[in-house]
């Protein structure tokens, strides 16, 4: 029996993704870029929800910080995409630190609602702040350049490659953290937070570290979004986006990181591409997908991978993932 090695499969997939610009027309390519940016946002949700056990509806806020920062930097400072990426991710991480310091004092449903509030407040802030375009959104973002004095990148294929690069880097970072001592401690919080405290680990520190890291990843995803869209609107930060980001994690198999990526892709494809063939039925199909997935995929898409004795399954999905406080 041949054992398909995960790195080999990943490498093949990467080659396939990288060659898409040679086979797809500009519209599908920009859809693919949007999917990748959204998928990286979903990875950041999985870092919190799947790895650390903190179900979050607020990552869209840090995605928005990254997206708007990249746009503002592009308009007012420089079109260099590396500067935009670093600025967006760093600012998102800082905002995550400030908000997370308070948010991770809670857990379960309360944490979910606090993050919902963070997401919605950021959404409304973007809508009301004229400096970033208000309800009209942030337009006039110039095309990116990759090196100083370089040519602006206009073709959809090239921006797609940049987005793919950001996605791969972000995903690899998440995998790296997942296999690190911090990653194990995060899983410890998810599995039995009191137990982790009982061995002398301050769990607040772990949760905050996870929160800031997830915020940075979401911020990076936001900068990638701006690169491919060259336009950021408050609608990009709506509650419905947070909701399907979280649901993509559940669909994909919380905690596996790669499962939610597939989940995110399926969700966007069903909603935006399939509904092109059945106009106006995008939401209906999405709803049907979710309902079927609950019954047919009890451990998400990642749960379809044949279990190996030495591989922990994605966060045990049939156990209550959240507890009510009080």
């Amino acid at each position: 029996m041949t054992k398909v090695r995960a790195p080999l499969a990943a490498a093949l997939l990467l080659v396939a993704l990288a060659s898409l610009p040679f086979v797809l027309a500009p519209y599908p390519i920009s859809l693919a870029a949007r999917i990748l940016a959204f998928a990286l946002l979903v990875v950041s949700v999985d870092v919190l929800t799947g790895l650390t056990g903190l179900p979050s509806l607020g990552q869209i806020a840090y995605f928005g910080v990254g997206a708007y920062t990249a746009g503002m930097v592009g308009i007012h400072v420089t079109s260099n995409v590396l500067v935009q990426l670093v600025a967006g991710a760093a600012l998102a991480a800082m905002v995550a630190l400030l908000t997370g310091a308070v948010a991770v004092r809670t857990s379960g449903i309360v944490f979910l609602m606090v993050t919902l509030a963070i997401g919605e407040l950021t959404h409304r802030l973007a809508d009301g702040l004229d400096a970033v375009g208000g309800s009209n959104g942030l337009a006039g973002i110039p095309a990116i350049t990759v090196y100083p004095g370089g040519e602006p990148i206009i073709l959809a294929g090239y921006t797609y490659w940049w987005v793919l690069t950001v996605f791969v880097l972000g995903f690899l970072l998440a995998v790296l953290v997942s296999r690190s001592p911090l990653g194990r401690a995060m899983r410890g919080v998810r599995e039995a937070e009191p137990r982790l405290a009982a061995i002398g680990q301050r769990t607040y520190t772990i949760k905050l570290a996870a929160y800031v890291f997830a915020g940075a990843i979401a911020g990076a995803a936001g900068t990638a979004w701006t690169v491919q869209a060259r336009f950021v609107s408050p609608g990009d930060l709506a509650f419905s986006v947070s909701a399907i980001a979280l649901l993509s994690v559940v669909l994909g198999g919380a905690g596996s990181l790669w499962g939610p990526v597939i989940g995110a892709s399926v969700v966007i494809l069903v909603r935006d591409w399939v509904s092109g063939y059945l106009p106006g039925q995008g939401e209906l199909m999405l709803g049907a997908l979710f309902v079927l997935a609950v019954y047919l995929l009890p451990r998400g898409i990642a749960g379809l991978r044949p279990p190996r004795r030495d591989r922990p399954s994605p966060a045990q999905q049939e156990q209550p993932a959240m507890e009510v406080v009080g």
Partner: protein
């Protein structure tokens, strides 16, 4: 009677007048105890005697109404569980508390990392190998090293208790509080567990709350007896067994009753 002389500065854990009251109900009533470094101490008593509440206060989950707890010379009453664990005071739980979705090895690795690694390091490194082998050593000590890659959910009840011991040992504790560790175990599992505790180095002081009196008499060199929240007797196993006050507490009335503690045959008592 213990042959070692008892100096005050030998005492690792000193509990003074510890009391826990919930309104009109007094769960723990003015209990004082001294536990020497290296001791094997047991806490017994009928149901409702306050043993769990007492342990909970020692571990830091519950705040006492009044009293002092001094560990290694330091007053720890205001310290939370995290601080107590870092000071070397750890406990096991009646309902085994483990990282259930993770592997046996990861459970212990997390503890080793906290103690001697860098739990906040967000990337894997070569140093992790050292942590892994230390974790494997702890697993070998409890006899679970060949199950290292299996998930906790595939372990039996007795094995989970063993894993919990490995986890607790990985914290390099000075004192371990065992809370009813053999509850729900078969005779064979209980025997294995008792052997495990006996094999612990004397650098690890143990305090054990137990209902299984055979285990208690096998493992403890000193026993405290709680009843209705008060300490009613304390001493060596022989002393406690013969104490009429203790017998009455367990049976309610000492007249015309069989003694609670039958003489255990000499060959079952292990030599120390």
């Amino acid at each position: 009677m213990s042959l070692r002389t008892h100096h005050a500065n030998d005492d690792l854990l000193v509990v003074e007048n510890l009391t826990l009251r919930y309104g009109a109900l007094t769960a723990v009533d003015d209990v004082s105890l001294r536990i020497a470094s290296g001791a094997r101490h047991a806490l017994i008593g009928p149901n409702g005697a306050g043993k769990s509440s007492f342990f909970s206060m020692l571990g830091g989950a519950t705040s006492p109404t009044s009293g002092r707890i001094v560990f290694g010379g330091e007053d720890i009453v205001s310290h939370d569980e995290v601080q107590r664990a870092r000071a070397g005071l750890v406990r096991t739980y009646q309902h085994s508390s483990l990282f259930t979705g993770l592997s046996v090895l990861d459970n212990v690795r997390i503890a080793v990392e906290r103690v001697s690694g860098h739990p906040l390091r967000p990337w894997p490194s070569r140093a992790d190998r050292r942590i892994t082998s230390a974790a494997e050593e702890h697993l070998a000590h409890v006899g679970l090293v060949d199950r290292r890659d299996q998930l906790v959910s595939s372990l039996s009840h007795g094995e989970r208790r063993q894993l919990e011991v490995a986890l607790v040992l990985a914290c390099e504790p000075r004192l371990v509080l065992f809370d009813e560790p053999t509850a729900g175990m078969s005779a064979a599992e209980t025997h294995r567990f008792a052997e495990l505790v006996e094999s612990l180095p004397r650098a690890v002081t143990t305090v054990i709350v137990e209902h299984d009196l055979d285990v208690v008499f096998r493992l403890a060199d000193r026993i405290s007896v709680l009843a209705a929240g008060r300490l009613i007797a304390e001493g060596s196993p022989e002393h406690v067994k013969a104490d009429p006050v203790v017998n009455e507490a367990y049976l309610g009335d000492s007249n015309d009753r069989e003694p609670l503690f039958l003489d255990t045959p000499a060959d079952v008592r292990t030599a120390r």
